[in-house]
């Protein structure tokens, strides 16, 4: 029998089962390397876990619990939810429970702590778990019951996905980032363009991106319906993980003769900064066609764009400038380590001098939780990942998604602006 080539996602899944090869469509029971929950999804998982009759989690070193959504606790109910997960973490001796003050936004935190590694399967009861694809890990979002089952057994069922290969050719224009590439891609294929599928990001432009930029891209695979957004391991991945990785790891590469559901090529030299209009991430336009939409708030941060590169570019634009009098600009470093680094580099001073608010890490406004909720009729430009109806507050408010460069420039001008108009 001739052995067919396999894509990286197929290889990762096969390596976690008793099968030597797997095929798209096949449903397998696979071992998981890391399990992640937050303060919204873990309470439901604990309730389900307790129904299984299992009294110990399968491995206390392979579970991460990060209270990041409604923390620092915004109200009594949130405090009760976090207390429940804190007590569970203590009872089971969970190694990677991150308390306020040490925690970060989960998908900035796990890579930084070396807990998401190449070739691994990482499930998270949070849809943006796909971020870890940038590290060549099959990170994928699941529900709370999935989390409970995996905490009890260390295994979970997966349907092997078909893969769509994206090839980004050419060199990026000034001010064009990973955020713009992924928004452009979602605008092209639509919010269900990769439904049930693995996305594989390749090409010269992906190789040129920093790890931060790659994580931004993989983070939004779910916004196209994707199961994961994988990127090949290279010297940048290796350098990022050096001194971080908590376990040994094995990267996987797609075979040259692997079968893809589709191959889509882009010439990135034709792409300019993108803005996704309400109320879907697929409603993208080049910023030059954004029509100067007037904004009330600018949010810079989140699991999509809360990393050092994002803060550096925002600071480059805001340095010596003032936030427009009619705009509230709120900046969220992704983790305490990022916050500290930004402080050392003088970025926090730039932000505060410009008139921006800087917050401790939290998912806060991204999901309309707290720390920057919009009133009816208000508009925000945001570096987050979703612009659904009511996502950042009132059902009649609006969210426009963009890169940190566009968000910072827009915060200065008071309307959606190309960064070159400001610098």
């Amino acid at each position: 029998m001739i052995k067919m080539g396999m894509t990286m996602v197929e290889k990762i899944i096969a390596a976690h089962t008793e099968h030597e090869t797997v095929k798209p469509g096949q449903i397998v029971n696979a071992r998981v390397d890391m399990i992640l929950g937050n303060d919204v999804t873990t309470p439901v998982a604990i309730r389900e876990f307790e129904k299984t009759g299992v009294d110990k989690v399968f491995d206390k070193d392979r579970i991460a619990i990060v209270p990041d959504h409604f923390t620092p606790n915004k109200d009594i109910k949130s405090a009760e939810q976090v207390r429940m997960i804190r007590e569970f973490a203590r009872k089971h001796g969970i190694t990677y429970y991150f308390e306020v003050g040490r925690m970060g936004i989960e998908h900035c935190l796990l890579p930084e702590q070396g807990l998401a590694l190449p070739g691994e399967i990482i499930i998270g009861a949070d849809s943006h778990t796909c971020t870890y694809g940038a590290l060549n890990a099959l990170g994928t979002g699941v529900g709370s019951t999935d989390l409970a089952a995996a905490m009890a057994t260390g295994h979970l069922w997966f349907r092997v996905p078909e893969t769509i290969k994206f090839v980004y050719n050419g060199k990026l224009n000034k001010w064009v980032s990973g955020k713009d590439l992924i928004l452009y891609t979602i605008g092209d294929i639509g919010v269900d363009g990769a439904l049930y599928k693995a996305m594989e990001f390749t090409g010269e432009a992906i190789e040129s991106l920093s790890m931060d930029g790659r994580m931004t891209m993989s983070n939004m695979a779910i916004e196209a319906g994707g199961k994961c957004g994988l990127i090949a391991y290279d010297e940048k991945t290796e350098a990022y993980l050096k001194n971080r990785a908590v376990r040994e790891y094995t990267p996987y590469y797609s075979d040259p003769d692997a079968e893809y559901a589709r191959v889509i090529e882009y010439d990135v030299s034709k792409i300019e900064p993108q803005v996704a209009f309400p109320h879907l991430p697929e409603n993208t336009r080049p910023v030059s066609e954004a029509g100067g939409v007037k904004i009330d708030q600018a949010v810079i941060g989140s699991c999509t764009n809360g990393r050092m590169e994002d803060l550096r570019i925002a600071a480059e634009i805001l340095d010596g400038k003032k936030i427009h009098p009619d705009v509230r600009c709120i900046i969220f470093p992704g983790t305490q380590e990022i916050y500290m680094e930004a402080l050392k580099e003088g970025l926090i001073e730039v932000f505060i001098a410009a008139g921006a608010a800087v917050s401790t890490p939290t998912c806060g406004p991204c999901l309309g939780g707290h720390m920057g909720i919009l009133a009816s009729g208000e508009k925000a430009i945001s570096t987050t990942n979703r612009n659904f109806v009511g996502r950042m507050g009132h059902p009649e408010s609006e969210v426009y998604l963009a890169s940190p460069a566009v968000a910072a420039a827009s915060a200065v001008k008071g309307f959606i602006t190309h960064p070159e108009e400001v610098v």
């Binding site: 449903i27 299992v54 949130s78 529900g143 309309g368 009511g390």
Partner: protein, 164 residues
């Protein structure tokens, strides 16, 4: 098993933020979640829905967040089943795991009108409009999923496995 109910119909890309807005996720009590189910796109849903009623959506139903609170809110509101042209993958997993019946039928989702009374046969996947008698056939579930549904959801399956 046969389900009967009145149809609430919505469009494409009904996301988890409108099924249950995050501002209510400081609790996971299904009854409390049900009170706010769909409120950002249909203020009347929670007050008008009756036990057994059926939601019909378009493409990519349940897109967005992984919050299991979304299918939990729908189930606790009394909805017996959701039919759509397609489902977002995490919502699909979550619904099967918690025992909320979901069916994929682009034809039914296209043609059945809001307010219609329909019958769904979960064993055969047959969907019938009670007034006109028109029928539609939903896609069958893969064998593994059928097993999971028969076992009574993922937790029941785990219980059996660890009990052995």
């Amino acid at each position: 098993m046969k389900l009967k109910g009145k149809v609430f119909k919505y469009g494409d890309n009904v996301d988890t933020d409108v099924i249950i807005p995050a501002r209510y996720l400081n609790t996971s009590d299904p009854k409390e979640l049900a009170r706010h189910c769909m409120e950002d796109i249909d203020k009347n849903f929670a007050s008008e829905v009756e036990p057994g009623d059926i939601i019909i959506g378009g493409r990519n139903f349940g897109s967005g967040s992984s919050r299991e609170h979304a299918p939990l809110a729908i189930k606790a509101s009394g909805v017996s089943c959701v039919i759509a042209k397609s489902f977002a993958r995490i919502f699909y997993r979550n619904s099967i795991n918690i025992g909320l019946p979901i069916l994929i039928s682009p034809e039914a989702a296209e043609n059945i009108e809001a307010g219609a009374r329909i019958e769904v046969d979960l064993d055969t996947g047959k969907i019938t409009e009670l007034e006109s008698g028109r029928t539609y056939q939903a896609d069958p579930f893969p064998a593994y999923m059928q097993e999971l549904i028969k076992a009574g959801g993922l937790i029941e399956k785990v219980k059996r496995e660890v009990g052995q």
